[in-house]
Symmetry: C2
Amino acid sequence: MLGNFTYHNPTKLYFGDGALGHLKEELKKYGKNVLLVYGGGSIKKNSLYDEIVDILKESGKVWAEVSGVMPNPTLEKLYEGIETARKNKTEFILAVGGGSVCDFSKAVSVSVNCKEDPWDKYFLRFEEPECDIIPVGCVLTMAGTGSEMNAGSVISNHKEHLKIGHVFGEEVMPKFSILNPVYTMTLPEYQMKAGIYDIMNHICEQYFSGDDDNTSDYISEGLMRGLVNSSRIAVKDPQNYEARSNIMWTATWALNTLVAMGKSTDWMVHMLGQAVGAYTDATHGMTLAAVSLPYYRYIMPYGVKKFARFATEVWKISPEGKTEEQLAKEGIEALESWMKEIGLVMNITDLGATTDMIEGIADATIILEGGYKILNRDEVVKILKDSL
Amino acid sequence: MLGNFTYHNPTKLYFGDGALGHLKEELKKYGKNVLLVYGGGSIKKNSLYDEIVDILKESGKVWAEVSGVMPNPTLEKLYEGIETARKNKTEFILAVGGGSVCDFSKAVSVSVNCKEDPWDKYFLRFEEPECDIIPVGCVLTMAGTGSEMNAGSVISNHKEHLKIGHVFGEEVMPKFSILNPVYTMTLPEYQMKAGIYDIMNHICEQYFSGDDDNTSDYISEGLMRGLVNSSRIAVKDPQNYEARSNIMWTATWALNTLVAMGKSTDWMVHMLGQAVGAYTDATHGMTLAAVSLPYYRYIMPYGVKKFARFATEVWKISPEGKTEEQLAKEGIEALESWMKEIGLVMNITDLGATTDMIEGIADATIILEGGYKILNRDEVVKILKDSL
C-alpha cells in the first residue's frame, strides 16, 4: 500500500549530446563567483574542461577551482573545498564529474556558511543545514549514483574508518544537471560496470522491502528490465549511444526519490558496501556487488515472496511447477549470472579486504531496519565473511 | 534511442489520506485573493468543500467561487471564469475536482492577464502565454487525466464542434497538488472506470510510437502492468485503498511528461476521442475506449514489433511458436478482454454517436504524425465507422 508522502524534485535536467549548450542560460541565474569542482583531471584529457572554461568566460564569471576530488571524497578534501569556497566568496558551485564530484559539491554547499564542523553535524548527527546553502549545478560524466537529481552526499573519514551518507532535503538538490551520455563513453570499462551495478543495487535496495503491492515496485521492475538489456549491449559495445543513454537515464530515476515513494526501503547492501569502502577505498559499485549475493541469500527466507516476484517479473523465469522458494532462489541465481556476465567483482577479497579487517568493517557497518530481516552484529560478520 | 530533451517538473505533490493537511502551508506562499474552482457540487455532498473553506478562512484568504465546471469544460465557462477572476483580482486559483477542473483552472490562469481571446490564441494558434500567469494549486478528487502534474488543458467549443488540448510550458503546471485516494472512492463506478482507461491510454499513446529501445518504454510497461493489476482489484472492490492509491499514483506518472522523454509519441486515439467528445459530450475516458481497438487494429501492421512486445511484456503472453503478427494480435486481444472485464464502453454508438455524425467528427479530428501510420481523412472515417 502506498503510504503518505511528499514528492518534489525541482532539479532541471538537460539530456542528450547537445546538453552542454544549456549551461550558459543556467549560469545567468547565479552570482559571478563560481567554484569549479572536478576529479582526477580526465576532463582535461578530453575537451570538456576547455569547453566549460570557455562558457564560464563568455558568461563573465570569475572562478576558483577544486580539483582532484577522489572517487570516495574524504573529509580532508571537504575542508579544502570549504576553505577555497570561503576565500573566493563562492556564489555558485559547478560540479563536473561523476557522483563523487556531485556528492562532494553538495557537501561543500551546505558547509561554507555553517559554523559547526560539517562531519559532526551532517554525517554523525544527521542534522539539517540551517545556514544559507550555495546552489549547485552538475555536468555529469559518469552514470551510476543518481547524485545529479537527489540530495544525497557520501563522505569518507579515513581516520575514523567511516564512510557515511546523508540524504538532505530538496534544497540541497542540484538546481540543474547536464547529462550527456557521450561523456560516459570515455570511462574505463571498470567504472562503467561499477556504475551499472550501483544503479541495479539502488533499485534493489528500494524493491526488496515490504510485502505490499505498489506502483513503485512496478516502475522498479521496468527500470531493472531495461537496465539488464542495456547493460548487456554496453558491455559488448561501450560506444553504443542507445545503450549508454538508457543507462544514464535509468541511473537518474533509480535514485531520485521516485521509486521509494510510499514504500519502505532497505539500504543494507549500501551500509555493508560503504563499510568495506571505508577500509579498502574500493570503487563504490564494486563494493556493493561484492557483498550483495551473500546478503540477499541470507535474507531471502524472510522475504521469499518478493524474491519470487523478482524472478518472474525481472528475469522472466517461468513459475510453472515451482515453489516460491525455488523461484526466489532462481531469481538470485539469475542476478548472479548477469553480474558475472557483465564482469563485476564478486567478492571483497578482490577489493583488498582481508579476514583481519572483518571485525572493523562490521563495526563500521550502520545497521538499518527496512529490510526483510534486521541484522544483528553476528549476522553482519557472517555476511562479510561469506563475501570474502 | 533517447533523443535530446529537457526534463523539469516543479509540481510538489502531497499524497495520502492526510494530504489536505498541507494546504495551509502552501496557501501561505500566495496572495490573499483566491479563486475557488470546482465542479458539479459533489464536494459539497461530502465534507471536502467545508474543510477547504475552513482552511481558506484560517489562512485569512478572501475567495470568489466558480462552480459547475463541467466534465468537458466549455469556452463559455472559461469566459465566465476569466471574468470572475478579473473582478475579484484573483492572485491564486485553487482547483478542487478532477482533470476537468484542473484543466479549466490552468486555462483561466493563462487568460486573466491576456488581452487576446484565449480560444484563438491558445487553442487554435497554439501560442504560448506572454502575460503574467496566475499560480494554480489542485486538490484532486478523480484519478485519470494527470492534469495535477502537467501543463495540459483541454477546452470544448460546442459552437464550432471542437475539443482541443494545449500542452503549455512548465510555468503553467500546478505549483502543488494534493492527492488523497480516499476522495476518489466516492466517485460513481462509471467515472472510475473511465479514469482507469484514460490512464491506460495515456501510456499507450506514448508507448505505441517509434521502434527504438529506450528506458521510457520499460517504465511504461511497469506502469501498465501495475495498472492492470490494481484496476482488477478496484473494479471488484472500489473501497480498496491499496488499489485506488496505486491507480491515482499511476495516473500522475502516466502523463506528467516522464514517459515521453526522449521518444516519439502518437496521441491519435486522443484526437479521435476528443472529436467524438466534441459531438457527444461523452465522458473523456470512454470516448478513448470506444475508438481505441479499431485504431490499434488498423495501425498494427505498421508497428507489429511494438505490438508484439506489448503482448509479451505487458500481458505476459508466451512468444513460443508464434510469429510477431500472431503475438501482436494476441496483445490487442488481451487489451480488449481486459477492457471488457473492467466494463468500459466499447463503441461510440453507446456514447450517442450516429452514422450521420461521422463526417463531422472526422472534420473535427486533428491528424497528428507520431504514430506507426499517419492517417488520411478516409482512414479516420473508416476507423470512426468501425467504432460505431
